[in-house]
């Protein structure tokens, strides 16, 4: 029995965060797990910050992860991982994509983007384990930049901590995409999985 397992996916509108949580949720239900979660849509998207929580377990009631109780934080983008630092604790694992998405406020000089070192240093103070990967590059190697979110999903499973079976999530990835692009997405998943598994070891 799983009591409580919390995942937070963070990113920017348009990066496929919602699709990742849909796939995770469906797969979890297929594996007979209880799932709760929530996300912010509407005004908050359109290039703004997006977070989606997926919580699995029999002692989960609310749709939000309590502060400090995130087991795995997935950052589709470094600064968005950092933005959600208060969900982390020493026992949390952070996986983030090093490819940055610079907001237009930086271009017009209204704000600054942190360096990767600053992001790592801050996250490292709170969380015990951080895995970084260039998911954009891996996605391109898989065949399409559009699979970046599936690379990150693969990386999430590469931690080998998830209560969801790999076969199940792959089944849902396969079913979610048209037959023509499904293999590219499966490849993206496998590549992400492998990179993360090696990093964990």
């Amino acid at each position: 029995m799983i009591k409580e397992f919390n995942m937070l996916i963070t990113g920017v509108g348009g990066q496929g965060v919602i699709l990742m949580s849909e796939l995770l949720g469906k797969a979890a239900v297929a594996d007979n797990l209880r799932v709760r979660g929530s996300e912010i849509l509407g005004m908050a998207v359109r290039g703004g910050s997006v977070t989606s929580a997926i919580r699995i377990g029999d002692e989960v009631y609310g749709p939000l992860i309590p502060l400090g109780k995130c087991d795995i934080l997935i950052g589709m983008e470094p600064s968005e991982a950092l933005r959600n630092i208060t969900y982390l604790s020493k026992s949390s694992l952070v996986i983030f994509n090093t490819a940055v998405t610079i907001p237009f406020t930086v271009s017009i000089g209204k704000s600054e983007y942190p360096s990767l070192e600053e992001v790592l240093e801050k996250l490292g103070k709170v969380s015990g384990r951080i895995i970084q990967l260039d998911a954009a590059q891996i996605a391109q190697a898989a065949g399409s930049l559009l699979t970046t979110n599936i690379v990150m999903l693969g990386a999430l499973f590469g931690t080998e901590q998830l209560p969801i079976k790999i076969a199940t999530i792959k089944e849902f990835i396969q079913a979610r995409f048209p037959a023509k692009v499904a293999p590219v997405n499966i490849k993206a998943f496998d590549l992400g999985y492998e990179v993360c598994r090696q990093a964990v070891e």
Binding site: V12, G13, S21, E22, G25, K26, A28, V29, R34, V35, R36, G37, S38, E39, I40, L41, G42, M43, A44, V45, R46, G47, G48, S49, I54, E59, V60, Y61, G62, P63, L64, P66, L67, G68, S79, E80, L82, R83, I85, T86, S89, I102, P103, F104, T105, V106, S107, I108, K110, S111, E112, Y113, P114, E118, V119, K122, V126, L145, E171, A175
Partner: protein, 634 residues
């Protein structure tokens, strides 16, 4: 893999859904036959879901022009004995307020349910009003779910309760219900389909003072019956712990946070909990039993102290000496969370908090300076960006003639275009409510001396823009009204509206043109422009502002998100623009500072276009003083 869907008649099976899909499923299980709504976050997916299965399940589903009409459509069906619902966001309930207050006198024949989707923290709204007060004002009972599963169950039951008590019911959802995801256990789908029958009954349906006086006491009787029944409805549950000093009354979603909080603090056995699923009316007997069993009470609810005030009234009336806490410990602003509820309970029970919340606050403050500001923005290629550029250029030209320091004023409205309040466009001076742009402009015209250029979208125009447009004509307000017509209700997810030529159920219908309506309403200056032609659009808007009397500009260009989608379908290639670095002056930045397009970015000193984002709208090429922005060769 056999996949279940929202319309599968598979009782007992589990399905992973969005909260709003669960709400729709509840209505489907109840055999709802008529559903009407106006889109608004966080409620839109409810009607979208119903529309997607309407034909298959023999339902009538419509996007109405606004929430008032939506509610009246549902009310009419109920009067004819059919199960009906209207769904809307919290501020939409304000629009429906007028019929609502008399509908409660009418009650219901066919089950009638109003779904209000409240938005604590105003994630996608102009305020965080608590719709339970509106319900109270109209003697409308409220069901408030604690989870996605319960949202589905309550929705299904609401229709039955409405028929049982012959009264209108409200289901109050919040963002973290409607936009939560969860597995739900499906129930059976009612296959009953009734035939609508209108029975003439003046005393019941024609509200002159006589009928108001006849029906109000009947309504109060119905409400009293519901009040008694609240004590035995399964949504209210009292769990007394032996020797507990603290009792927690948790309403709706707050119940889920409370369960997690007491577990986190390890005090499950030491507190009594009353779960509230009907904040209005409260289960008085259960409340009194709890009040009598403990020394202190904590009321946990989101937004205003609605339950708290009623619990205090019950305690006063019953003369129970118990200390009642609520908004002194639980925030009145924003959403609640397990953390916030835990802090409140820890303070009251003097328990050690499971995490150092002060440390977390420090961490937030420490991290904040490092984070880039990432507000939502108009999409690359959004035609609104071009419209705003033209509006600003034209109004500034005219403003100079008004006087040296005169600034044009831009009353704005509800929709994607509200995002233009951010730099660098900064072209929105007021945003209040649907249609408020034209209304505010009407008032400004009589009190200030400056060009007044108001804007709203096409869907908003049909919703609430026409009465203030007529008002401007009638009362001779010298204003310019720009309708940003992107043929979409874009912000809420591209729902069809009277200007799109098709209905919620996908049927073709007449396509109304805002310019025809403006002309018919007596506006003497009406022009249609393509915003992507900046020069022509700017000239037309300048003429409109200089026109003596109300003027209308329809700035028409399809929403870029729909256009890109259609291009992909047609297998048409997007031809992006690029910046010729030999011609570009690195210090100029005009394209960035004038437009703020997410596709134009700085790479060191260089300005470049991200070709993966560029839609090829060509607006930046028109503003570049060096002619350095060029279309790539196809």
């Amino acid at each position: 893999m056999k996949e279940l869907t929202i319309s599968s008649d598979a009782p007992g099976e589990r399905l992973f859904v969005l909260g709003n899909e669960a709400i729709a499923r509840g209505a489907i299980e109840a055999g709802v036959q008529v559903a009407a709504a106006y889109p608004g976050t966080p409620s839109s997916e409810i009607l979208e879901t119903l529309a997607s299965v309407a034909k298959e399940l023999d339902m009538y589903v419509e996007w109405s022009t606004n929430e008032k009409v939506a509610f009246e459509v549902a009310l009419a069906a109920s009067i004819c004995g059919i199960r009906a619902m209207a769904s809307m966001k919290h501020v939409g309930v304000n629009v429906a307020h007028d019929p609502l207050m008399t509908a409660s006198y009418i009650g219901a024949k066919g089950g009638l349910v109003l779904l209000s989707a409240d938005d604590p923290w105003a994630w996608s709204s102009q305020n965080e009003q608590d719709s339970r007060y509106i319900a109270e004002q109209g003697y409308i009972p409220v069901l408030e779910p604690s989870s996605v599963q319960e949202a589905k169950d309550m929705m299904a039951d609401a229709f039955k309760l409405s028929e049982q008590f012959r009264h209108l019911f409200m289901v109050r959802s919040v963002t973290r219900i409607g936009h939560a995801r969860s597995d739900i256990v499906l129930g059976e789908i009612s296959k009953e389909r009734r035939k609508g029958q209108f029975t003439k009954d003046r005393t019941w349906l024609v509200y002159t003072p006589r009928e108001a006086r006849i029906n109000k006491p009947l309504m109060l009787e119905r409400f009293e019956e519901i009040k008694k029944a609240a004590n035995t409805l399964p949504y209210n549950q009292l769990k007394l712990a032996d020797g507990a000093k603290l009792g927690i009354i948790a309403c709706g979603l707050s119940y889920s946070y409370t369960l997690e909080a007491v577990k986190w603090l390890g005090i499950e056995d030491r507190v009594s909990i009353l779960k509230i699923g009907t904040p209005h009316p409260l289960p008085e007997e259960l409340v009194i039993r709890l009040l009598n069993s403990v020394k202190e009470i904590l009321v946990v609810e989101e937004l205003d102290p609605f339950v708290e005030l009623h619990v205090k009234a019950i305690a006063g009336e019953a003369n129970i000496p118990v200390r009642i806490h609520g908004k002194d410990l639980v925030p009145r602003i924003g959403e609640l969370s397990t953390g916030k509820v835990t802090q409140a309970i820890a303070q009251l029970t003097k328990s050690k908090p499971p995490v150092d919340f002060a440390e977390l606050d420090r961490l937030v403050q420490e991290t904040a300076p490092l984070l880039p500001w990432r507000p939502p923005a108009l999409c690359a290629g959004c035609p609104h960006r071009a419209s705003f550029y033209a509006i600003k250029t034209a109004s500034k030209r005219v403003a100079r003639d008004y006087g040296k320091d005169i600034e044009p004023v831009y009353p704005g409205d509800i929709g994607c275009y509200a995002l233009a309040y951010n730099p660098p466009l900064e072209a929105v001076d007021t945003t209040v409510c649907m249609g408020g742009s034209f209304g505010i402009a009407n008032g400004l015209a009589h009190v200030i001396n400056a060009p007044i250029v108001a804007h709203l979208g096409d869907s908003t125009f049909f919703h609430a823009g026409i009465p203030p447009l007529i008002n401007a004509v009638y009362n001779k307000a010298n204003i310019t009204m720009v309708i940003l017509d992107n043929s979409a209700t874009a912000m809420t997810g591209f729902q069809p509206h009277p200007g799109t030529g098709y209905t919620a159920m996908g049927e073709e219908t007449v396509q109304l043109k805002p310019e025809d309506i403006a002309r018919a309403c007596g506006v003497k200056f009406v022009e249609v422009v393509d915003p992507l032609d900046l020069k022509k659009a700017t000239e037309a808007i300048e003429k409109a502002i200089r026109f003596d009397g109300p003027a209308v500009i329809v700035s028409r260009r399809l929403c870029t998100m729909i256009e890109q989608r259609e291009k992909r379908k047609r297998k048409e290639k997007v031809i992006p623009y690029y910046i010729d670095q030999d011609k570009c002056s690195p210090k100029c930045n005009a394209c960035i500072e004038l437009l703020g397009c997410p596709a134009i970015i700085k790479q060191g000193v260089k300005t470049i276009i991200d070709s993966s984002l560029c839609t090829g709208c060509g607006v930046c090429a028109q503003v570049c003083p060096y002619k350095a922005i060029i279309e790539e060769k196809a």
